[in-house]
């Protein structure tokens, strides 16, 4: 385990967090964000639209230039190639993009893919579907499956169930809960307080140019 070169976030912390964020500037916020995410932990990111929640996730994923200190199991992100960082700490946008015409050109067919498709209540034949005929809800779940099959250690999800019915939402939450049980980490942007209660132990609230973490 590489030694930490910065003080622990909390004096009582004895186990190295999965994801450590120190002084990460986010556009629109007066102060930079610091946060620890333990393995198996989920932090709900809440606040009004346009407050900077997505920008925060993008900054963690290194999709926007942000000079803060972000580490995965103590390893600084600047120390690893950006594509590797993003495979391990994967951001899924609320309206994720598609670069090919067929779903199967975005995610390889495998038993794991089939299992994930079924787990989020999608037909196993979805890989043959053209992207153009997908509904918003199907797109959201397929974007999640596309990320999950890469087995990232931390998922940065931006409103992953905003277009889903209750049954599909429950299915997605069950998949996420399983990932957490397996030791993954999750930063979850949501506008649904009950979803935050179901999945997260803590909440990062962003709004009015400031941020707070509770409890």
């Amino acid at each position: 385990m590489p030694p930490l070169t910065f003080p622990p976030f909390s004096a009582t912390t004895t186990v190295m967090p999965l994801l450590t964020i120190r002084n990460l500037p986010v556009r629109g916020l007066a102060t930079a964000v610091s946060l620890d995410l333990e393995a198996g932990g989920c932090v709900a990111v809440m606040g009004p639209s346009g407050a900077g929640k997505s920008l925060f996730l993008r900054a963690v994923a290194d999709l926007d230039p942000a000079p803060g200190d972000v580490r995965l199991s103590g390893e600084p992100r600047e120390g690893m190639a950006a594509p590797r960082w993003r495979r391990l700490v994967t951001y899924v946008a609320s309206d994720a993009g598609w670069w090919a015409e067929r779903v199967g050109d975005h995610v390889a067919a495998s038993p794991e893919t089939t299992g994930l498709l079924e787990a989020v209540r999608l037909d196993a034949g979805a890989l043959d579907w053209p992207v153009a005929r997908l509904s918003n809800g199907e797109r959201q779940r397929l974007a999640l499956v596309r990320a999950l099959v890469q087995r990232p250690r931390v998922l940065l999800l931006d409103e992953p169930t905003s277009a889903l019915d209750p049954a599909a939402t429950a299915a997605v939450e069950a998949v996420l809960a399983q990932r957490l049980a397996d030791g993954g980490g999750l930063l979850l942007v949501t506008h649904d307080p009950s979803q935050a209660d179901r999945l997260a132990r803590r909440t990062l609230t962003i709004g009015g140019g400031a941020w707070t973490i509770s409890p």
Partner: protein, 268 residues
């Protein structure tokens, strides 16, 4: 060599056709008569000036004056590439990328042709270098401006797709793959179309000029084939270099999409 010299009177008679166009514009209320007149006047002044410059250059046969003229041509072509972008890169990149890649592509191809195929003595003889560079530059300029324009507009339009691929751990080259291919295709398409249509739909200006100048058609054809191959090669190099440079500038070393390096959309 056997050709029929033209008098200024002959040229004046031809100009009457443009006057007819202007009258048509007036009669049909096209609003083009003024632009037609300005464009015709510009064309005459520019060509007369170029004729004088070329006469001097051909008499001097100086490497320095020839290189200087070539650089001025490249500089104007670079300005034209920048002006044709709907969304140009910010700062010096807008001008620098197109100019540098044109200088590279047209310079390499022109030098290659002069030193290995045409072989004038001296190799930089402006009678060969300047017209050759002009033809290669004009086509390379078209290809590069189309390629860069396609790349920039595709990067803005396909932002979500590019970022989705980056977010999943793709490199900037993987993320830009479809847009890169699209930009290369659009940059190369004009020369591909030109080569396909040449001889059937159109007789190229250079070949026509040589034939009118008294050169045997078979010789003029050989020159034309050589020029089209040179143009295709130069356009290929230039578009590839410009589009790769464009992708490098629209991303950074951490494989992020950097649309903040693009200027605003230009109207018209």
């Amino acid at each position: 060599m056997d050709y029929i010299p033209l008098s200024y009177g002959d040229v004046a008679i031809a100009s009457l056709l443009v006057v007819v166009n202007g009258l048509l514009s007036l009669a049909l209320d096209l609003g083009l008569e003024r632009r037609l007149a300005v464009a015709s006047a510009r064309m005459v002044v520019q060509l007369v000036l170029v004729g004088m410059v070329l006469t001097t250059l051909f008499a001097l046969v100086s490497p320095w004056w020839t290189v200087l003229t070539a650089l001025v041509m490249v500089a104007f072509a670079g300005r034209e590439v920048m002006a044709r972008q709907e969304r140009a890169l910010k700062g010096w990149w807008a001008y620098g990328l197109g100019t540098a890649t044109m200088l590279l592509a047209a310079g390499v191809v022109t030098t290659l042709a002069l030193t290995t195929q045409i072989r004038p003595d001296p190799w930089y003889d402006p009678r060969y270098l300047i017209p050759l560079l002009g033809m290669i530059l004009g086509n390379t300029m078209n290809g590069i401006s189309l390629g860069l324009n396609t790349l920039a507009t595709a990067a803005v339009r396909e932002r979500a797709a590019i970022e989705a691929r980056l977010a999943l751990g793709g490199t900037r080259w993987q993320a830009f793959g479809p847009m890169l291919r699209q930009a290369l295709r659009s940059g190369l398409m004009p020369i591909v179309n030109t080569m396909s249509a040449t001889g059937l739909v159109s007789l190229p200006g250079m070949m026509t000029g040589q034939i009118l100048g008294g050169v045997a058609p078979q010789e003029a054809v050989k020159y034309q084939i050589l020029i089209l191959f040179l143009i295709a090669g130069g356009t290929g190099f230039g578009v590839l270099a410009a589009v790769l440079g464009g992708v490098a500038r629209l991303t950074d070393e951490r494989h992020r999409l950097r649309l903040d390096r693009l200027g605003p959309l230009r109207k018209g």
